[in-house]
Symmetry: D2
């Protein structure tokens, strides 16, 4: 069986696993107060061009991170703007609502020059939503937004340009909104062909974002970056009240130490993207149509159902939505453990 | 100034006010344990054809009622299905999300035979949503529904036929969902031409619904009907924990006693609907187009902006959404205190 | 039957009822935007010595008010300090916890010079709690306080001196805490012999407090006073999201207009307290012992169980806690509708 | 430096670390659907004497587990009974309240035959609380309990006897309460001298309990045992909505596979307890007094402040509450990585 189902099919990448083993017997303070977590935070601040007084800390998983950080940033009774396909709107089991906040999806079918969906929030669509909202006489009876949520790359593997993010930031400033970016697969965006948006750009443009570990070679862990230290009061208590404080916080620290040493985080991204592009090229050569044009580690193609049936005997991958009558969109994901042979085997089997 | 802005512009209708005055000096137990509340509950059970052991109790307002009752009916981590224009989705300031539950709007543009929007949930659309949801491999990561929310009349003043409600009930049974109906303006639906759905039908088809008082001649108060007494454990405590238990519950009791005596509740509905139809006929005769075809006390017309500007000098009414370039939909509402002269004056002024 | 059970046994006092009747047919905007509510807010600001830009608005009931306002004032993940016997800790069915916040009772048995419990928070006990809390190495894993909750009068009918409130305010300032006072029975405190604390003092010392209407002659309604207008963002939306926005807000406005005209609010308080003192004197003369020394409209005595049994045949009143073996504390409450004859009849019957 | 501060100072014990390394390159389904998690669940069911259809699943940490499982078991608006010193009441930053539920501590100073505090819930105290609660006329306005929370061992390291648990279970049955046991350090209780309570007993007596991994040699992970499969609807969705679903669930599975193979879980417990007893004996021989008599891996002694100051230069340990004037209770914890030499060094240094 060859695996293209998710980014979290196998354990830790080699440098991460090695670091875990090497430091296993260190005696450390719990809950992220250990020297490894502090060092990892420093490495990340450096990569982000942020001063030492900015805030970087570690949470366990993506849904937990989104729900916890958004709960910090949302005024009481306020909501978070996002795309209809945003992870927080569809695939987090209502974790944001569980904290009392409404997710406010902007209905907009953004497409690229080929007419393929991008899954991105268009600045124009955001601006229009806000204008319409505040021109409605009854808006005081409606959930007011206080945060914009994006993900880089988006759920569809596409990436925001620097200009798009700057436009969205300007709109946020105009309307008094925070900007938060979910970077579960940020390493793949950083490695994508044509990407212009660096960690430093994100640190300049966002009020908070996270650098995903789980989907980038760690066993678990997401690094939250908050450039403004005043945004979060009582970090430890707040995280703990969300059940999100890992006792052996050292485990998160050593993994991000490994990822932010020797460019490992970038190397993993490049590895994933290279193999994804190889797969993309191979499938196109075989005449299959992309469902979405993604430059990152998720590839979306429309396959005839009989091809899907045959392929499922030798490979794992996801149907992208319910099965359709004749052909169905599917998603292939590459990860740190995917090999060139895996891609070649998949292409041979199709 | 003539008033068509809302159903809650003026105080209590005459029989309600009289009862409040007459009983003002009665000494009663608080929190709904008074004899008036018990009597009112009995009158309502009788009107609904329900046995004495079923549950009827009183809350203060509509948003409070929706949020409290849905919180009772929703399994933890589950959501409530509704239309995109449902009051709980748009105009309740996120009160359902405040209790930790996601509102799940079904994207569907239901129209009538003239192509006008109905604002209703089509049984076919509900069924399709459920089929698609459970055929998605990732549904365990998505908010599962456990309640269907409708309103009778709908936000657009339209009413469900008996057949539609029976179809929706059957789908609820198939998928293990509760059915809850918001009856903020239920009296207007009961009085609408062509209405087939009685209180007895609602009691048979719903797991809970409420009979609106605030918008039907009371100062405040909504009567919640729960045919199955086992659905709600510790009624008093649950209501109190939502801040929804009125100390002088007697006030709710006497008002519903008045409304369910001498057919007052139905009379108010008929009064509202008759005047609404008079207004509808007059506006059509003047050549204005309906925006929505409503047989109840809300009337929706598309008016040229210059007519709107002129009319706003003599009458109150609502723009239905943001102002458009040339003409804008508006809403006129009749209530217990609206008079025939008010309607005639409006028609004369337009 | 003579009634001493609660402060909300009968309807509205005469001036309130008259005003409701007189203004019943006024056509008004909903949700508190009506001229009556605005006028009532102005009258209250004047009584409090507050400038027009401060915030006064109306909610329906006490539990709702406490839960809603505390949810505004509490930082996320923070808690509210109070006495063990505080209404929010015991008798509000967990409404504060329902909004996600922990109630932090301070264990302290405050007694007066006769050794009778006062139910008040001693400034020394508050200060000690805070010192102990922040000297605990693990405090980051514990719920940090951000508000102090008091009630005036307390649950035990006792009142805070000006000095006590000033000391508590100073401690709040030192520790960065908001001060919130529940004034469900505030009129009785204002009328108590020896009371030094005026509405102006409360406005100067509190970040928010409420002037109770329900227990002071209104059908319902509590007036929230927030001296600092910046404390609450989007008042209407926030209240609505808690299901606490009354559609016919005019009803709250006219009642507080009546209460804050002709000194009615103070007159009701004086009436209640005078009769309470008459009862207190009469019971003491008959040799019964006070359980608590209360100068307000709640009187607490320890009665032999056989007296209780006999008295329950002619009067309503509450056992103060579970029945004990031989004698049990009971509570008698006077209200706007209590008469001198009621008190004399009770004393005669005992 | 020698370490006695917490049970989570160092990484994974040897068999756990080995298993993580060995299985790192397995390709698995995410979110606990992997074969390792299933196998680990089977091993635990076997150890508990439970049939295959009962439910065992894995969460990341203790606070998360308590908040998530209690949110499942608590009826809406209900609360959880526990001791005043319970972890959920003191050291979880309000995570239970964050889900909308009140923690109901039972005020009771349970002591052993030497007068030392036990930190346990006495069956008599529980029964008395319930009797008093339901004999209070106002109990409908108070948070009703629906779960009893214990921990084995307790926060004070003491253990419940089989008889005590059976008595508490009988009270739960009488009052319709669930019984939930927090087993963060369960391995230490199983290994304690005099312990009578096995995993099979817990499975028979509890509605849910968890077998702690984090504090028993794992990097992270707690195994939740729910004998009755009907108690939890939609396990995956519910866990995800609490942000508690680990993407690489395989990591939890392999660790519990390791812990429940070759008696490793019991061996770790015995190791911890043996060293704790060695420490206990040594400190007593040196004339120090126990603060609590604990037969498990936490040892509580009262030390003179000057001894504490000296000892803090060579060892880590916790003050048990704020520092007192002359002598202060302290806690020493042994864990899988503690060695006999560590204990001897500590005793030598004191």
């Amino acid at each position: 069986m060859i695996h293209f189902k998710t980014d979290y099919m196998s354990g830790a990448c080699e440098p991460v696993l090695r670091k875990i083993i090497e430091t296993n017997n260190e005696n450390t303070a719990g809950y992220g107060a250990d020297p490894r977590s502090k060092h990892a935070a420093s490495l990340i601040k450096e990569a982000c061009g942020l001063p030492e007084e900015s805030v970087v800390f570690f949470l366990v998983g993506g849904t937990q991170t989104n729900a916890t950080i958004l709960d910090t940033m949302l005024y009481k009774g306020h909501g978070v703007l996002c795309t209809e396909t945003a992870h927080i709107n569809v695939h987090e089991a209502g974790a944001v609502e569980e904290t009392g906040h409404k997710v406010l999806p902007i209905a907009d079918k953004a497409v690229d020059s080929e007419g393929k969906p991008t899954g991105k929030m268009r600045p124009e669509a955001l601006l229009l939503w806000l204008k319409m909202f505040y021109s409605d006489d009854t808006y005081e009876h409606m959930v007011n937004p206080s945060v914009v949520y994006l993900s880089q790359p988006s759920e569809f593997g596409t990436i925001y340009s620097l200009k798009e993010l700057e436009q969205i930031r300007a709109i946020c400033d105009e309307y008094g909104l925070y900007l938060y970016i979910d970077g579960a697969r940020l390493g793949a965006a950083l490695a994508a062909e044509g990407n212009e948006v660096t960690l430093k750009d994100l640190s300049r443009l966002c009020d908070a974002f996270y650098i995903g570990g789980t989907k980038m070679g760690a066993l678990l862990g997401e690094a939250v970056v908050m450039p403004d230290p005043k945004l979060l009061r009582h970090v430890i208590t707040f995280i703990k009240s969300h059940g999100a404080l890992l006792a052996k916080g050292h485990l998160q620290g050593v993994q991000f130490e490994a990822l932010f040493t020797d460019d490992n985080y970038y190397k993993i991204g490049r590895h994933e993207v290279e193999l994804a592009m190889l797969l993309n090229k191979g499938l196109k050569e075989k005449g299959y149509k992309t469902y979405i044009n993604s430059p990152t580690n998720q590839q979306f193609f429309v396959l005839p159902n009989e091809v899907i049936d045959r392929l499922q005997k030798v490979a794992t991958f996801e149907l992208w939505g319910p099965r359709r009558e004749k052909e169905t969109p599917v998603r292939f994901v590459t990860t740190w453990s995917t090999t060139k042979a895996d891609v070649e085997d998949l292409l041979a089997a199709i």
